[in-house]
Symmetry: C2
Subunit: 341 residues, 2 copies
């Protein structure tokens, strides 16, 4: 992985990729994939107020509902340079907003890869964002989880672990040298949406539907999307030309690593892992899975950013101050794999 | 309004606006506006399963939550031709997806106005889509409403009223000559997200925050956004340069019409209103409000599309087969008002 240490700075200076050059799109749009119809019956008719002080309206909750579909927004550059489209899958509690502007208002990875000429498909997992969500406990079987403002700060290697968060920005204790944009933290909390812990099957089914519709492709994925992306590639190996795992929280099916042997894979981890309570285990599981793929004949590059001189990254390298530097590394890797023209 | 009958067909043929010319963006991105912090306390710690078969995790629901923010995605053309940005506000139960691709996969009004050179800010109202939603009944005071697959078909002048929907597409009874793309109906249902009926205040507050951040502007709004947009303009008349009300479900504050006298307003209604159960009243309320604004010295153009020869529109002209024709009318009106260069 030594070659990755040489950042391709010349690329940043080329006018076609600079942030002051236009993003030229052939088209853009959105669609939903997957989902199913569910019948609800035997419920009492409810009286509801649709506006304060209004007349109560009778609402019959019985009927057929469309549920578990997934929203995908796509951008097709006028001059496509990726050999296949790039799918972006976000982590738990987040939406496709993960890859849009950073919480402090800089350009995110969606713009970065579009400017490079990749067709990008950015989705909201089932149950989140523009994918909508379904009644519980009738359809989703559990209650949703809501994250406090302290939770991501202490859990995702932004702050210095438990107790490091304060509602007062001046009193927050950041990991020293952290690249997460401190001034954007409160805005990042606004990106977070409720999530369920009982919807993995539905989320996975919709991702497979996206792969069927859009791929062959590269999948770039973050955190909770780890198992979905590895398992999607294991289910449809001919459709996936490369996997870029950014801090995957979990991995794929260890009994099906042979399916991944033809799919070049990059795993990227940020800083501050050794000193964290949970992340050493997560990181170790990633290595072990990579080793299994290699033993089965596959090719996996595991990059610990600090080991190649890129220091201070949180769990969110796409939002961190040096997000372009990490994107350069991914772009170079994809190019080295022959996926860029 | 006679001039509106002459559709500007030449504009469709100009290469800069045609669908085969690139969309050239200076930049694009997203942000959240508004919202507030809420403290939840005194709740018992819950045991939750984060993955099927896993170890139960203790989740403490007490703490501070970020709620009621609004998601805004923006696109800035390289050659801006609108004199101010164009804000797009969707209707009840929907998100900004309303203005993206049509449910049958054609380009929607977002692309149309971008190709014309407008900077477009497309949002998801508080509680919906990428804006997220808050715990109920702790923060939101009521339960959410879910729409059956039959509901929009029968209520929004696509099908021929109550009883016209069938889950079997072949058995659906459309209003004769309806422009809604029949093959896209099931896909349109995938766009719909749960909504509340007790969140008007929070939705309005976030819209005001967007107006403060982005405007001066034009606001183009649909259905439920009617009262929010009229009232936002009444609250901040200096910030709003024109209002385009597409089938507004309700109107603004009748006691504050004088605030709107300097804001040119276009109200557009589709077809099949007279024969509907609810829409004649909604339409009449629109006319009455327009007349009040005129009496106060304002300028309002009310267009019934069938009266100028544009027939068959449902409640969703931005999705209908002739969506470009209706957009042409809006574009011409904005241009006539001096808002396009």
């Amino acid at each position: 992985m030594a070659a990755l240490m040489v950042a391709p700075f010349f690329a940043l200076c080329a006018p076609a990729h600079a942030e002051d050059a236009p993003i030229n799109l052939k088209t853009m749009g959105s669609f939903h994939v997957g989902g199913r119809l569910v019948e609800i019956s035997g419920k009492p008719v409810k009286e509801m107020l649709f506006s304060p002080g209004g007349v109560p309206v009778k609402v019959d909750p019985n009927g057929t509902y469309q549920v578990e579909q997934m929203y995908v927004q796509y951008f097709i550059p006028a001059n496509e340079r990726g050999r296949v489209p790039l799918l972006m899958w976000h982590g738990g509690g987040y939406t496709g907003v993960t890859y849009e502007s950073t919480p402090d208002g800089r350009e995110g990875w969606l713009n970065y890869f579009l400017r490079k000429g990749w067709a990008v498909y950015n989705s909201d997992a089932v149950e989140r964002g523009r994918s909508g969500w379904a009644q519980y406990p009738d359809i989703f079987k559990t209650e949703p989880v809501f994250l406090t403002t302290a939770n991501p700060f202490e859990r995702f290697r932004i702050g210095a672990g438990e107790g490091s968060f304060s509602q007062d920005p001046a009193k927050r204790r950041y990991l020293p040298g952290n690249q997460f944009p401190a001034e954007g933290y409160d805005n990042m909390m606004k990106q977070i949406v409720p999530r369920w812990t009982s919807t993995d099957e539905a989320i996975f089914a919709a991702y497979l539907a996206e792969v069927d519709k859009v791929c062959p492709c590269v999948i770039l994925f973050h955190s909770q999307a780890g198992p979905f992306a590895f398992k999607a590639a294991q289910a449809k190996p001919d459709k996936v030309k490369a996997l870029v795992a950014v801090e995957p929280a979990q991995v794929g099916d260890p009994d099906k690593v042979a399916a991944l042997k033809g799919i070049p894979t990059l795993m990227v981890y940020g800083d501050f892992i050794a000193q964290d309570k949970r992340w050493p285990t997560i990181r170790k599981n990633g290595s072990a899975f990579a080793e299994k793929i290699r033993v089965a004949g596959g090719s996996v590059d595991v990059v610990d950013l600090p080991a190649i001189g890129i220091k201070g990254n949180s769990h969110f390298p796409m939002m961190d101050r040096n997000n372009r530097e990490v994107a350069d590394l991914i772009q170079k890797w994809l190019s080295d794999k022959g996926l860029y023209k």
